[in-house]
């Protein structure tokens, strides 16, 4: 069977913000670059980012600077972050944003004509450069339009990589297929960058699209790379729950910022019932004070609806489990109530929350100015990922790099809003730069034809004569339901042990999934192959979550509800053993330098 072969210095897998930024950098360094994307160019999940990109430009509040941003990021990540990445990110984000403007991005403006910045959770000063509520689209289109003029970049659209090829220890290529015709393709490359995003599709309720099946984590793992802190999955507290077709789509934090309150089916504002001790001094004593905070009263404390994302998500979950939820399994988010306080509330809400008004009107047929929304937590982001060197983004496998959501370390146990878009640019650039540098020092490696043949046969075997009657969509749905129930927002050891057993059963079923024998654009066949990635990442994150016997950031353990000093100094590392089994070990967090520790102490005052 014919296999198309291409040669590049650098191969970038994934063409969202991180992948495209990496490709541009490697091309500018004089390398030939292959840019592979699972969908069409410009459709990656980066387009979904709304709020903005965090960078301490200091355009709105000149007290901001990299040190403040660094400290905010470490606090948000609860100090299990890779501090070097947090440092580089805070220092370089402003340059990356200004560079984007030079490439044609059109951010909203301040009165004196500079890039406007807005407030966001966990950021001390207004820091998010933005374009209304479509910042991600602006970034992806800017990078796309900038890169299409570079002749060194060859784009391979609707192409999916299923295996990395190694020569000894080094990664020297990748094997995959074109979705369009089902033809196979082999890329020979001196270095490979993984920029494939996250794994949201391992869960039933998610804001992620079909593509996010953990491909990059799985490719890297199978190539011998280490995965870091896979247990930290961010569940955003407010996604739509009704109607069913829009379940999981985000409802911005801004609704609560404008005075929206959470209630259960009895009309009770349940968030007042559970305020963590360490936040009590910073939280409103009663609804009246909370309301004043949302209206800009600097003497008032924030309402409990604006506590951290992980806490709010758990409280919502508790209400639903206790049978106090809304008719469709969420709770009520009510902004309409402000008509008691605000004259002409209807116009006020439409002006402050235009996209939310339209989202609910168009997809839910619900007028948020008169009716409460139904919301619930939705799987949003993977803080864990491929373990990389903070400076170069190279994994422990020579020639294999990772950036963006696929990489790990910057966000620790929890990511701040706005730090994802800046992550893509800062570390996409760094990955491109260092992958190019590495490529220039290498010759193309040897490709083992037998390995390529085996990869091809594996792909084709899903279309062989029937082995059973397993439907790939059904196995995927069963996995998603199981992970949602057993390894979701609230975790317990016995449930997660059950999950591991279920994963073993699902793996057996996944071997027998079947697709019609048609190579051309056959989504059933593609789902068969994606399944193996989903199962690997599900196992990895479940194992890490069991091992971390504490609650920290995005991980909440019902059986270990407090933070522990022991685990606060630990990262979880997953690696494929020589026997092919998944191995987990703990490693101490690399200690901060004295200089950075002093910055954190200074900012905590």
């Amino acid at each position: 069977m014919e296999i198309q072969t291409f040669e590049h210095d650098v191969l970038v897998i994934g063409a969202g913000g991180a992948g495209m930024r990496a490709a541009i950098e490697a091309a500018d360094a004089g390398c030939s670059v292959g840019l592979v994307c699972k969908s069409l160019l410009g459709k990656a999940h980066t387009v979904m980012a709304e709020g903005g990109i965090a960078a301490s430009l200091g355009n709105v509040d000149d007290r901001d600077g990299w040190k403040v941003h660094f400290a905010d990021t470490m606090r948000g990540g609860q100090y299990v972050n890779n501090w070097r990445m947090a440092e580089l990110h805070a220092k370089e984000a402003p340059t990356r944003v200004r560079e984007l403007e030079q490439w044609g991005a059109v951010f909203d403006r301040t009165k004196d004509g500079k890039i406007l910045q807005r407030n966001f959770g966990g950021h001390r000063y207004p820091r998010l450069a933005h374009v209304g509520d479509r910042t991600g689209l602006e970034i992806i289109r800017t990078l796309q339009d900038h890169s299409v003029h570079k002749s060194q970049i060859a784009v391979y659209m609707e192409c999916c990589i299923t295996k990395l090829i190694k020569d000894g220890e080094r990664v020297v290529g990748a094997f995959g297929y074109y979705r369009e015709k089902g033809r196979f393709v082999l890329f020979k490359a001196k270095s490979v960058i993984i920029a494939t995003g996250g794994l949201g599709r391992a869960f039933e309720v998610t804001s992620n699209s079909w593509e996010y099946t953990g491909d990059g984590y799985s490719l890297a793992y199978n190539a011998g790379a280490e995965l870091l802190d896979m247990e930290f999955i961010q569940f955003h507290p407010t996604g739509m729950v009704w109607p069913p077709s829009v379940r999981g789509i985000l409802v911005t934090e801004g609704v609560r910022g404008e005075g929206g309150v959470l209630r259960n089916k009895d009309g009770k504002r349940f968030m007042f019932d559970d305020i963590p001790e360490n936040y009590r001094n910073q939280t409103a004593k009663d609804p009246e004070e909370g309301w004043r905070y949302t209206q800009g009263d600097k003497t008032a404390m924030r309402p409990p609806e604006l506590l951290t994302r992980d806490h709010v998500a758990r409280c919502i979950n508790r209400e639903v489990k206790a049978g106090r939820g809304s008719p469709h399994g969420g709770v009520f988010l009510d902004i309409a109530w402000i008509k008691e306080r605000v004259p002409n509330a209807r116009e006020h809400i439409k002006k402050k929350l235009p996209s939310m008004y339209h989202q609910f009107m168009e997809l839910g047929g619900l007028d948020i100015t008169t009716t409460a929304m139904e919301v619930g937590p939705t799987t949003h982001y993977t803080m864990g990922g491929v373990r990389v060197d903070g400076d170069t983004q190279m994994s422990c496998v020579p020639g294999l790099f990772a950036a963006g959501e696929a990489g790990a370390g910057l966000h620790g146990a929890n990511r701040l809003g706005g730090n994802s878009l800046s992550d893509l640019l800062v570390f996409g650039k760094r990955a491109g730069e260092h992958a190019a540098k590495y490529a220039k020092e290498q010759k193309h490696g040897w490709i083992d034809e037998a390995e390529v043949k085996a990869s091809m046969e594996w792909a084709l075997h899903f279309m062989d004569a029937p082995k059973g009657d397993e439907n790939p969509y059904k196995v995927q749905q069963d996995l998603q339901k199981m992970m949602q129930a057993q390894v979701g927002i609230v975790r317990k050891e016995d449930e997660m042990r059950t999950a591991l057993e279920e994963i073993t059963k699902l793996k057996a079923r996944a071997v027998a999934v079947q697709a019609p024998a048609n190579r051309e654009y056959n989504p059933g066949w593609h789902t068969c192959m994606d399944l193996s990635n989903l199962l690997i990442v599900s196992e990895a994150l479940t194992k890490c979550a069991i091992e971390r016997k504490e609650s920290r950031g995005a991980q909440f353990r019902e059986d270990y509800q407090e933070k522990s000093k022991e685990f606060g100094n630990c990262n979880m590392i997953i690696k494929k053993g020589i026997d092919g089994q998944m191995q987990l070990r703990r490693e101490p967090v690399t200690p901060l330098t004295d200089e950075l520790k002093a910055i954190i102490d200074e900012q905590a005052k």
Binding site: R98, G104, S209, P244, P327, Q359, E520, N522
Partner: protein, 264 residues
């Protein structure tokens, strides 16, 4: 305006979905169970998961932000993820691929032509530091009102529905000499950027073929982002080109001075 999504009992609807490839195909009937609030893309997914696992369609965000799931629903170019079942008239629902592009399989079409056209548009080219909108340090100084027109055009999600509906492409197949509304919008976003100094008017007049557009506004009507492509992109660009190339006084001046194409 939409109606509220209630808990109405599920019911069945028949979907006539085009199945085939570039060599031909036919409409195939499927039945999907319609639950409250469902959009056409949900029905296609349901058919995939239960009746035809190899039914080809593109999709990503499922929230009208990525522009992947373009199709022709009951003959009209629309995003499947934003077309609610309640909004369609009773009876069978037809779902077909975009007509203006070659078919690959089922609902998936070959839109690569659009990416080729995009490469022909001169990229953003900023003015030097120390000019009207650029500070000495190279950062831009633009007022919000200066960038609003550009920002409107940059809302484009590249669903290519405007290209699909445009009769110059769809019926007259002028792909070789006409870049289409999507790329007039892109060109406009650059031409209207306060800092940009490149000149795309010769391209628009010649290779871009903007003269073929006779302002039927079909593109504006189908745009899911509600970009006023005709009024705010195409007409202003056409006016600039008319002033530059066809205004008698300008033509005489250019002839006398021998001014190159750069000034306008």
């Amino acid at each position: 305006m939409s109606t509220a999504v209630g808990d109405a009992a599920p019911h069945q609807r028949t979907f006539k979905v085009w199945r085939g490839d570039k060599t031909g195909g036919k409409m195939v009937d499927y039945t999907a169970e319609i639950t409250p609030g469902m959009v056409v893309l949900d029905a296609i997914h349901q058919i995939q998961a239960t009746q035809a696992s190899d039914l080809a369609c593109r999709w990503n965000c499922k929230a009208g932000k990525c522009g992947s799931c373009s199709a022709e629903i009951n003959g009209k170019p629309r995003l499947m993820c934003l077309t609610r079942m309640e909004a369609l008239p009773e009876g069978d629902v037809t779902v077909q691929p975009m007509k203006a592009f070659p078919n690959i399989r089922d609902l998936v079409t070959d839109v690569s032509w659009n990416y080729t056209v995009n490469k022909k548009i001169t990229k953003f080219t900023p003015a030097n530091p120390g000019t009207r909108f650029v500070a000495e340090d190279g950062t831009f100084r633009m007022q919000q009102r200066d960038v609003e027109r550009t920002q409107e055009m940059r809302k484009c999600i590249e669903c290519f529905l405007c290209q699909d509906t445009c009769h110059v492409i769809r019926d007259h197949e002028k792909h070789e000499v006409f870049s289409g509304p999507r790329f007039f919008a892109r060109a406009a976003s650059l031409e209207m950027h306060p800092v940009d100094v490149a000149d795309r008017e010769p391209f628009l007049k010649n290779e871009g073929g903007i003269g073929f557009c006779n302002i039927t506004k079909c593109c504006t009507e189908v745009c899911p982002e509600h970009i006023t492509i005709t009024d705010n992109a195409i007409i202003p660009l056409k006016e600039r080109i008319a002033d530059r190339y066809y205004d008698p006084v300008t033509m005489l001046w250019r002839w006398v001075t021998g001014a190159d194409k750069k000034d306008g």
